[in-house]
């Protein structure tokens, strides 16, 4: 029995060691460049990191990222000046673009369409509208020099709060020893990415890993009127949050536009934008009529074609405002 137990432990250790080597050699794990909150309260990446973001168990999507000196994944450094025409593109993971090579980003595609301009991509996974507008306010000296600001707004997800507060808990969690261990043991990072250690993680965090969530709670079916009332209340809340944020941080309507998908945006919110003279770029039409898929297979981010359509929409908009 002693031999069995000892050899089992030894074999498990050696197997894990071998796997760690294979996972590293094949780069099956994804890299998540470290994050921090700067002195302005902006959450972003630690500057000057390069690496590869990987999606899927078998490297199905493999893309290089480069964090510039400003702390964002971009092919260029952000050096706004009065002499150049700069566009700031701000948003969440869709703009950050870890799912694409940084040399094939939406920003580069826009620059290719309008020679002479520079596009600064302030993307960060998890940014909502509060993050975005706070960022513009925090870096106002830079943004005074930037000619056009485009904020990517996912209406359903990005207007959940009316006040900005940096997510210090997340940063603390990510810089904890446990997470550092996870990031350094690539096998663990890989296992975590593909979800195989999810039940163990739940158990370790004190949750009930065995709970069958289906049927564990009751849901009531809402009537159509209730649904409408609920939707209307959500709209009220989102519009109020939007107002509150632009009242607090300000919004330079002369050079700011929202990038949105009107299929997923409330008509009431669109009316509100129209009434208040806030411009928006709507990519719904070009996505809806696209004969080729606009999203990646392995996650829902834009694929090369989707990014091309977005860059066309933005380039057209910039050309129109530059006139």
């Amino acid at each position: 029995m002693k031999k069995f137990l000892l050899k089992s432990v030894l074999y498990i250790f050696l197997i894990l060691l071998l796997l760690e080597g294979i996972v590293r050699a094949l780069h099956l794990y994804t890299e998540d460049p470290p994050r921090f909150i700067d002195e302005y309260g902006v959450e972003k990446r630690v500057p000057e990191h390069t690496g590869y973001a990987v999606t899927g168990n078998r490297n199905q999507n493999f893309s290089e990222f480069h964090i510039n000196k400003a702390g964002f994944n971009s092919h260029r450094e952000f050096e706004p000046s009065k002499d150049k025409f700069e566009v700031a593109l701000i948003g969440d993971s869709f703009i950050e673009g870890f799912h694409q090579d940084y040399t094939s980003s939406t920003a580069i595609r826009i620059e290719e369409k309008i020679p002479g301009i520079e596009v600064y991509k302030y993307g960060y996974a998890g940014y909502d509208f509060a993050n975005q507008i706070h960022l513009v306010h925090a870096y106002r000296k830079d943004f005074e020099l930037i000619d056009e600001i485009i904020l990517y707004l996912n209406y359903e997800n990005d207007l959940g709060r009316g006040q900005y507060e940096p997510n210090r808990a997340r940063i603390d969690m990510l810089s904890s020893t446990l997470f550092k261990i996870r990031d350094n043991i690539k096998l663990l990072a890989y296992g975590s990415k593909i979800g195989i250690i999810e039940p163990l993680k739940k158990l370790a965090q004190g949750g009930n890993a065995f709970a069958n969530t289906e049927g564990a709670y009751q849901t009531n079916t809402l009537s159509e009127e209730d649904e409408e009332a609920k939707k209307s209340a959500e709209d009220d809340k989102r519009i109020a949050n939007f107002k509150r944020l632009i009242d607090f941080y300000g919004l330079d309507k002369s050079k700011t536009a929202l990038l949105l998908d009107s299929r997923k945006t409330s008509p009431r919110f669109l009316d509100f934008l129209d009434e208040n003279g806030i411009r928006y770029i709507d990519f719904a039409q070009s996505f809806a009529t696209s004969k080729v898929s606009t999203n990646l297979i392995y996650d829902r981010h834009w694929n090369a074609h989707g990014r091309e359509l977005i860059s066309e929409e933005i380039a057209d908009y910039i050309k129109s405002v530059r006139k």
Binding site: F4, L14, N57, I194
Partner: protein, 484 residues
Amino acid sequence: MLFNSLEFLLFLPIVFVLYWFVFKKSLRLQNLLVIVASYVFYGWWDWRFLFLIAFSTLLDFYVAQYIHTNRDDKKKAKYWLWVSIICNVGLLGFFKYYNFFIDSFVDAFATMGYQIKSVWTLRIILPVGISFYTFQTMSYSFDIYYKKLEPTRNFVAFAAFVAFFPQLVAGPIERASNLLGQINSRRTFTYAQASSGLQLILWGFFKKMVIADSLAPIVDDIFENYTDYPASTLILGVCLFSFQVYGDFSGYTDIAIGTAKLFGIELMSNFKFPNFSRNIAEYWQRWHISLSTWFRHYLYIPLGGSRVGKLKSIRNICIIFLVSGLWHGANWTFVFWGGLHALLYIPVFLMGRNRLYSDNVIGERTWLPTLTEIFQVLLTFSLVTFSRIFFRSPSISAAFDYIHRIATDFRYEPYVHPMGYRMLDFFILIGVFTLYEYLIRKDERSPFKFKYRAVRLLLYALVVLGILLFYDDGVNRSFIYFQF
């Protein structure tokens, strides 16, 4: 509780430690632990099902005593045997086949022009693995009746034999003469047995989580949307189903046999590389062996087997294949599948080739198979795979429609994975798996039987890597044969 779940990952070491460290000194306590662990394992699905196992255990324990007491009075012994058969088959019939027979009865009348409204169908939950443990308990009564076994007086041992958790829900269907004897005697821990158990568990997980689970979404997609696909995709769908069902069921069996080994118990082999069979008879000597053996011992031989003349032998073959089909599920598709196998088996039987390959494997004395063997294997695989269209389809008409489309829409179109994954990955996987199985074809109980330790270690790591590469947390991880 599923083998491929976190629950089991925690459950198994706990039971192992209690079994070998806490209750090591008392066989009775070890058996009691087996019962408690098995009931927890089974009750994890639904504790109400435990009453069925308990009932089946009590019934056959006492019936066997009565059969034995009346062993000189053939009539009485037979009476008690029938009590066991009727109760066990009755349970099975009620839970598994009641609605099937009612619906079939109503449909039969409808074809004759009489419309009967089916008011007798009930909402019945099918207890997991009921066909497996009822057959196992019945085998005990049969063995006592045929005087192949003395009944045990030890109820704890008998209850442990019926409920032994590694093979409770999907076999192998053990005969009392093999398993009960081991449960009744003191087990000793041996390094060789336990390490071979772990190897089988690892290999079983690979077959289940890599082969079966990764092919499941493709097979489900093709069979659910077969009307949208050309012949090339439909052929692909059923071929992949062949690998899926094999990976699923033999994977389960390997985990079961491996787990039993950790407790010092040897279960019978249930699969011996059936994909390398050279004719249908060999296939049935290599696929779900415990069920084939059960039917041979308790149905085919009592009916006269092959010693009753050609016509009666053919009748017997038809009976066991049809009953075996029905055993799989309450659907005419399974009966048809069984019938089809009978039709494929009878010519082999009539040519006297049904025992030709019973003691050798493909490439028995050579590295590579001969061209004839390759042809035979491909032909057998094709026939078995063709029959699986009925096994997998929801109805006979759907199965025929599937075949009709293969025959009439004969064109090739590349198939796109429902999740968009690269299909080449799966073709490589199947190819590597088949080649590896060919390498280990001579011993189904030693999947890592290689001389050098370093080779074995590398293989273990590659198997775990395979599990990681093809792991999909969105897939339904249940086993196909649980429904039977």
